[in-house]
Structure formats: structure tokens, C-alpha cells
């Protein structure tokens, strides 16, 4: 049985759901959780419910910095764990390669499914932006590192509880050369596209940045994040951070609503791991319809407001 550490990201009382997804998949293994910073009691209770044997909080570090987190976590992990898992979140993507490098160890990144048989890890990961899948295995020194794409594993239905013993550790950040001076809040307080459960996306047919407002309104009803195709970003209708696709973000929501997106190969690659896809487009032959579970051939400017009102009725 492998000794596993899951790195959690906690803000306020909320633990990122990818942590629970990972814990659920590791049922039956000896699993600890560690987070840099405070772990509130409510989070410990919740983490224990999903299988955490020990919950370590690493104190003494202020803001995130790749070097500070790497130094402190390297010292904490030492030779205590065979595997270290984390989410392929914006922090995980930045930190885990550096941390794995500090151990001269391997990292399987952005894994969407895996099997842990005793001490053997075998994962699946999309490559070429999801145009194909490959099996991934790790060799070399321990611990082996794995980052998991949010929403890919799904929430466990009946997790096995762990003891949830708490432990505080004083972290040593060491010498930080790249330090955060300031954090600028985003326009949207919504979940990032890569972690969003529902995404409403707009394409070239949106015609203007102002028209994205109707997608924002639909997204508000659904608690969704708004995305965009490359065509919409390059036309200046949407910010680059909103781009879904091979040169944008790869997403894995449960529901993806594509509005006025024709479905270029690069866009389809970035959103194909969505569980359910709804497409709204006037062109009945648009490639997006080949991937859509529910296709509505129609004008998005007519359909989206009706959809918003209908959802309001049903969800309200």
C-alpha cells in the first residue's frame, strides 16, 4: 500500500473540490492531506470524511511563491511519501513541476483518470489538447508526483472516512527571489474556466464584446463561467483568459453551452472532455453539432434569452 500525500488548496473554509475528487479515488490507501496555511476545523472534518488520515497545515508562509512553497514542501515531504497528488489548478500547474524537480522526480501532469494498484500508478492523460489519449507511468526517484485535472474524476459518492488527525508544521520558505508584490482581483469572481462545472461560451457569431452580456446573464442563472472561442478572442470580443481551445484553456465541465461557435478542430480539442455539450448555431452543418449532445439550430440572439428565462423558471 502506497503512502500518499494530497496537496490541498484552501481559501477561507472552502477546499478546492479537486482535492475531494483525488481523495475519493485513493480510497483504501494510506492518505494524508497537507495545505500551506490555515486549515479551518470545518475543512478538517470534511477532508476526514473523504479519507484523510492526517491533515497537516504548513504555517509561516505568507503569499504563494513557487520557490517558497517548493522549499517548505520539500522539507515537509522529505522521504515520508511514495506519491504526492495535487490539482492541475493554476497554483498546481506552477508549483508541482518545480517541486518534482526539487526531488529530481517525475510528474504526470493533468491526469484525467488513474489506477493505483498497491504501489503502482498508471494514469490516463489527454495529449495534443485532447486529440488523443495516452497511458502515463512514472519512474525514477520517489516520491512520484501526479497532478489531476479538476472535474475529470468526479466527486466520490460514498467515500471511506479517515481519522482526520491534525498536525501543524512550521514551514521554511528559504530564499524567495520571485515574490508577489500585489494581487489584482479579476473582473469575475466566478470559478476559473479550468475548474468550472458549467461553461457558457461564445464564438465569432457574438459579433461584439457588448453582446457577451447576454452570455453573462445566462451564466448568472446557471452559476456558470463565460468562455470564448479563439475567433471571438482574436476579434477582440473577449479577453485571452477566456479562450477555450488548443491555444487557450482545456476545460472539463459537466455542461458546456457553445453559442455561435462553429467548432474548429482546435476548439473541439479544448472542450471535448465536457460531459454534456449544448450547441446553438444557425449553421446546421457546423462541426460543433457533431460533438453536441443537444444541438439547437437557431439564432443565438433569439435562443439564449429564451434559454435564460426557461432555466430561471426551472431552477428558480
Amino acid at each position: 500500500m502506497a503512502k500518499v500525500l494530497v496537496l490541498a488548496e484552501i481559501s477561507g473554509d472552502t477546499v478546492k473540490s479537486v482535492t475531494y475528487e483525488i481523495l475519493g479515488k485513493l480510497t483504501g490507501h494510506d492518505v494524508d492531506v497537507a495545505a500551506v496555511g490555515e486549515v479551518p476545523a470545518a475543512a478538517v472534518t470534511e477532508l476526514a470524511k473523504y479519507g484523510a488520515a492526517n491533515v497537516h497545515s504548513i504555517k509561516g508562509l505568507d503569499n504563494y511563491s513557487p520557490e517558497g512553497y517548493t522549499n517548505a514542501l520539500k522539507e515537509f515531504i522529505g522521504s515520508n511519501y511514495d506519491f504526492v497528488f495535487g490539482g492541475a489548478t493554476s497554483l498546481g500547474k506552477d508549483l508541482l513541476p518545480r517541486l518534482a524537480g526539487a526531488f529530481e522526480a517525475g510528474l504526470a501532469s493533468d491526469v484525467t483518470n488513474f489506477v493505483m494498484d498497491g504501489d503502482n500508478f498508471s494514469g490516463t492523460r489527454p495529449m495534443f489538447s485532447g486529440k488523443c489519449l495516452a497511458k502515463v507511468e512514472i519512474s525514477g526517484p520517489k516520491p512520484h508526483f501526479v497532478s489531476i485535472r479538476p472535474n475529470a474524476l468526479g466527486m466520490p459518492e460514498a467515500p471511506t472516512a479517515g481519522a482526520g488527525a491534525t498536525n501543524e508544521v512550521t514551514g521554511n520558505a528559504g530564499n524567495i527571489r520571485a515574490a508577489i508584490k500585489e494581487i489584482i482581483k479579476g473582473a469575475s469572481e466566478k470559478l476559473d474556466l479550468t475548474e468550472a462545472n458549467i461553461i457558457v461560451s461564445g464564438g465569432r457569431a457574438m459579433k461584439s464584446a457588448e453582446n457577451f452580456k447576454i452570455l453573462e446573464e445566462l451564466a448568472d442563472v446557471l452559476g456558470a463561467t463565460v468562455g470564448a472561442s479563439r475567433a471571438a478572442v482574436d476579434s477582440g470580443y473577449a479577453a485571452p483568459s477566456m479562450q477555450v481551445g488548443q491555444t487557450g484553456k482545456t476545460v472539463a465541465p459537466t455542461l458546456y453551452i457553445a453559442c455561435g461557435i462553429s467548432g474548429a478542430i482546435q476548439h473541439l480539442a479544448g472542450m471535448r472532455t465536457s460531459k454534456v455539450i449544448v450547441a446553438i448555431n444557425t449553421d446546421a452543418d457546423a462541426p460543433i453539432f457533431t460533438k453536441a449532445d443537444y444541438g439547437i439550430v437557431g439564432d443565438l440572439f433569439q435562443i439564449v434569452p429564451i434559454l435564460k428565462d426557461e432555466l430561471k423558471k426551472v431552477l428558480g
Binding site: 500547474k93 506552477d94 518545480r98 517525475g106 510528474l107 502515463v136 520571485a178 488548443q246 459537466t254 446546421a284
Partner: protein
């Protein structure tokens, strides 16, 4: 100033990917190769940094197959001064690639003041090499950079995090900077640039030359296959205004009762 840029050659984004029959990798013959799109931002930022610091040189480094060196020539044509190619397979892992880059930079005899990379390569999508290069060379790094200002060797960098939020970093050179879309507008190679590129120095090394062997492999990929195709979905014609309300109501009902996603 010694400016380095790491680039990768990847299949064009339009390319349909076909796994090899034995699943060991993808078919790489008859593919159109391009410079990794994120690396174009890295090359442009290197050239802008050079322009702002007279006497600087831009060295572009690539690890990969030798069958064509198109991406390196493109970077030279854009204005980079010299290129280094480390010959390797197309299927190296991030650890080997990063170690090869480190080896190639060391072998150049120049101490880097800054290393620019793309935030990720769009083929393996690993997002590991910039951070690994930084860790291996004991340099700080900032990734997913959308704004870069340099003055007297001090960099102010905006890094995109979640929900459009930004972290602003201050860091002194030397530093590894992984570039994202939005950072700049990459220039096109001019015709004189393309002609000049042919005469610019291109150094080739083997993996062994830069101290990398198969023992450095940390991650093994196999079983390449196409993702499973979805069964055909349901399609509704809502071009007529009269049908729209009932069709939308039907789709919402299906999302609720059949797909169970809302």
C-alpha cells in the same frame, strides 16, 4: 545581456492526430510542424528585451527531432542571433527536455540573464519545462506571464491566475519567464530576415553531449489512442421563431431529466 529562448516544434493546430498502430506515439510523418504558438510570444519578448538593452544577444534553444529545423529558422528570421538544436526524439519527457536545455545553455558558455519560454507546448501539454529548467538551474521563475516590464535587470511580471485575477511579481535577473497569449504581438519574419537567418550560426548537439541519457526519463507515455467518439446527439431545428420556446423548453427538460446536469 544574454537572452535565451526555449522553443518547441509541434504539429500545426489544424493537424488531425493519428496514433501509431502499436500505440507507442503518434504518426509524425506528413505532419505540418510549426513553432509552438506560446513560444512565439517568448521569442517576441526576447527580441523586445534585446531592443531595449543594446549589446544583447538572443540565443534560441530547441530540443527535438532533426528532420527539419523550421522553428529555429523561424526564430532566427524573426531576429534571434543564434540557435542551438539538441537532437532528440519527439517523445522525450519534460525532465529530459529541461535537463537538455540546461546542458545546452551551459555548453554555450554564456550565463543567462533571462530565459523566455512559452507557458506550455500544445503537443504534450505538460506545463513542466519552464519550472524544471528554473529549478535545475537554481533560478526563480514566473509562469503564465501576460505582462513583462524590465528596467535595469529588474522585472515586473503579471501572472494570470484564476478568474482573470493577476499576481504581480517583482524579480531581479536572472529569471525564467514562461509567456502566455496576450503578452505581445509576435512579429512576422521579414524577407531580409529570412535571408539573413540562413547565415546565422546553428549549433547541434546530441543528448549525450548535453549530459542527458535514457536514465533521465521520469515519465513514460504509451498506449496512444483516439478518444472515444460520442454517440450522435439530438438536434432540433429552431430557425422558426414559432418553435423556439417549445424547443428550448424540451432541451432544458432533457438537461434536467436525461443528462441530469442542471
Amino acid at each position: 545581456m544574454n537572452i535565451f529562448v526555449c522553443i518547441k516544434q509541434v504539429p500545426d493546430t489544424e493537424t488531425k492526430i493519428t496514433p501509431k498502430a502499436d500505440g507507442s506515439f503518434i504518426e509524425t510523418t506528413s505532419i505540418k510542424w510549426i513553432m509552438n504558438p506560446y513560444d512565439e510570444f517568448a521569442v517576441e519578448q526576447a527580441l523586445l528585451t534585446k531592443q531595449a538593452n543594446s549589446g544583447s544577444t538572443v540565443t534560441v534553444v530547441r530540443v527535438g527531432g532533426v528532420k527539419d529545423t523550421e522553428a529555429l529558422r523561424t526564430a532566427l528570421a524573426m531576429g534571434a542571433d543564434e540557435a542551438i538544436l539538441v537532437e532528440g526524439d519527439d517523445n522525450l519527457d519534460s525532465f529530459m527536455t529541461a535537463k537538455a536545455i540546461k546542458g545546452a545553455i551551459e555548453k554555450s558558455g554564456k550565463t543567462p540573464d533571462v530565459v523566455f519560454t512559452g507557458k506550455q507546448a500544445i503537443d504534450d501539454d505538460c506545463l513542466q519545462v519552464p519550472q524544471l529548467v528554473a529549478q535545475m538551474m537554481d533560478l526563480p521563475h514566473v509562469s503564465v506571464v501576460v505582462e513583462c516590464n524590465e528596467e535595469g535587470g529588474k522585472y515586473t511580471l503579471k501572472r494570470e491566475i484564476e478568474g482573470g485575477a493577476m499576481e504581480v511579481y517583482e524579480v531581479n535577473a536572472p529569471v525564467v519567464i514562461a509567456c502566455n497569449k496576450g503578452l505581445n504581438t509576435p512579429r512576422y519574419a521579414s524577407l531580409p530576415g529570412i535571408m539573413k537567418a540562413k547565415r546565422k550560426p546553428l549549433t547541434q548537439h546530441s543528448l549525450a553531449d548535453v549530459g542527458v541519457s535514457e536514465d533521465d526519463r521520469r515519465v513514460k507515455y504509451s498506449g496512444f489512442q483516439l478518444p472515444p467518439e460520442k454517440p450522435a446527439g439530438k438536434k432540433f431545428d429552431a430557425m422558426e421563431e414559432a418553435n423556439q420556446a417549445s424547443i428550448v423548453a424540451d432541451v432544458v427538460k432533457l438537461l434536467r431529466e436525461e443528462a441530469k446536469v442542471i
